[in-house]
């Protein structure tokens, strides 16, 4: 599912100053259906790696192949299609659209696809059902708890039927009980065939993952 070779990411600094090496990964492979937990201190490069794998950051060196696509070779349009169909990202701060209902947030990817209007609502409700929030369809993010927002973000990620889910600290803002629910949800999705790469420090999630990767100063340990 994921193949990384000689990946280097440098954050540019001001003129004449040396850039900061954010990532330096000689090799990484993730197979289809794996549940990979990515750990490391803050600033170790976890989020950077996820954004590169998710096609959200194209400024790097090396080869990154996801779902059979060499990301660096994709055009802007093809990269958008990749983000819409192959991979889905769940962010630590949810990145939901304020003022929109849960249902509208979940159905967001449909607005930019060729989906017919008729199928959108049932699919959004199905996704909300899958994350246990079918009764919150009309609620806006402001009316939802942190855990609920995170589940809405996952429901949105699942809407387009992505094969790879990238989660950045999905339980970072959740209490213990909600965390357990999130772990159960991700385990279930993985059991249904979804490949997961999750950046986390949460022991419950770590125990649910099939493989652990640790990043330190941008390098895999």
């Amino acid at each position: 599912m994921i193949f990384v070779h000689n990946l280097t990411k440098i954050f540019e600094k001001a003129a004449h100053a040396q850039g900061v090496h954010a990532l330096s990964i000689p090799s990484l492979e993730v197979s289809l259906g794996e549940f990979v937990a990515l750990t490391g201190k803050s600033g170790s490069g976890k989020t950077t790696l996820l954004t590169i794998l998710g096609g959200l950051d194209s400024c790097y060196e090396g080869e990154v192949q996801v779902g059979g696509e060499v990301l660096a070779k994709l055009s802007s349009r093809a990269l958008a299609k990749f983000r819409a169909e192959t991979v889905a990202s769940v962010f630590q701060s949810f990145h939901l659209i304020p003022g929109w209902s849960a249902e509208e947030n979940v159905a967001l990817p449909a607005l930019f696809s060729k989906t017919s209007r008729r199928g959108v609502r049932p699919r959004a409700l199905q996704m909300l059902e899958a994350v246990g929030l079918h009764d919150k369809a009309k609620s806006t993010p402001a009316q939802l708890s942190g855990g609920e927002r995170q589940r809405i973000a996952i429901a949105r990620a699942l809407f387009a039927g992505a094969r790879l889910l990238l989660c950045d600290e999905p339980t970072g803002n959740l209490d213990t009980q909600t965390t357990q629910g999130m772990v159960d949800l991700l385990s279930r999705l993985n059991a249904e065939g979804l490949t997961l790469v999750v950046a986390t420090h949460e022991p419950l999630l770590l125990s649910a993952a099939s493989r652990h990767l640790t990043l330190a100063e941008g390098r895999l340990q």
């Binding site: 954004t51 950051d57 958008a80 990817p109 930019f112």
Partner: protein, 422 residues
Amino acid sequence: MRFWALQKLLGLSLKRDASLAYSSIFGIGLATGSLLFFLGLGFGLTSFIQHLFPVEAKRVEVKAPQWVVGETEYKKLDEVACTDFQKLKHVRALFRKMEVRAPGITRVNDDILGMRIDMGLEVMAVGVEPALFGEDIEQALFVEDEEAVPAILSTYLIDVYNQHFAPKNGLASLKGDMLKGFGFDVIFNRSFFAGNTGERVRQEFFVAGFSPKAFLAGISIPLESAKRLNRTLGREAEQYSSVVVEVDDSTHIASVIQQLERLGFKTDEGERRFVQQLGLATWATTGALSLLSILIGVLATINIAQGLSHSLHMREGELAIFRAVGATSAQLVGVVVAQAFILALAGGGLGVLAAWGGGYLLDGFLFQALGAITWLPKRFFMLPVGVYLGGVMGAILAALLGVWGPSRRLLRRGIAEVLAGR
């Protein structure tokens, strides 16, 4: 992107940024409305001036007599000269005019429309070719008739009467149609100022119509009637007082004037120049106001661009999320442009309504203030439908130009960079 999706995105965006939307619509409306209003005023006033001073851009009047320096005789403005004029390049038609070359008076002592009128008037008559009046008059009535000669009066005479003479003398106001058919006798070779100038000749006239092109200080009669009267009165009946030369296109007027001058004739351009200068002054004024409107438009466009650009920056995170879930840059530019289009369309429409309403109010005010003057135009504010449409199109174009650059710039930023808040 499907239409329903675009509709949904626009609806959500406009609903959330309602205050920005309203201020943008107001700004566009103000700019478009003021521009259209001043343009409409310019068109209306120019048309009014042309109506008031019906000097056509294609016509020039050759006056007689014409003294030529170095010659002992002056050029005769007769049929020979007219034949020469007709041969000139770009000349399409000639309209001859001949004054009745003897003074005349009329005496009215009768009940007219229930009023006892007893007064004497000095009458000057000019013979003109009927075609000069065009559709202003009933052409069939305007033919030489020895029994009763048709006379066309200036429209402005009625106004002078209604505005000044009637109120001062406690007389009722007149409408042109009331006087049509009214007969009166003129005794020629008789003057209140000059006394008898020859053997008296009595001629009956009747009012055949009104025209703004008619002789202001007297009556206009058929050219043949003027010739006959001059012959009867023993006056010169071969030379014309003036000849109006009509050219095939207004751009050739200068060339024709040059040719006439080469023939030894001079043209009377005083009125033409006056009207042109008046028209230019009108356009200079309305043009300056229009420029002011354009300036308002430019400022409004900058305001719209800044507003929408600010809104885009506020939505930068949201747009990054859209891109993260699969939106292409082209789709997002499309959304932004569609939003600007809607705002501009609404603003442009508002501007059109404001301009039309302003023009309507202005007309109402002016007509009320000026009273019942017959030569007033139907409207002071005139704007062709095409200009209204042009105003809306201009507003749309300005708004699109305003958002195109900022949206392209914004979408060039990396998604991860925006989402990370860097």
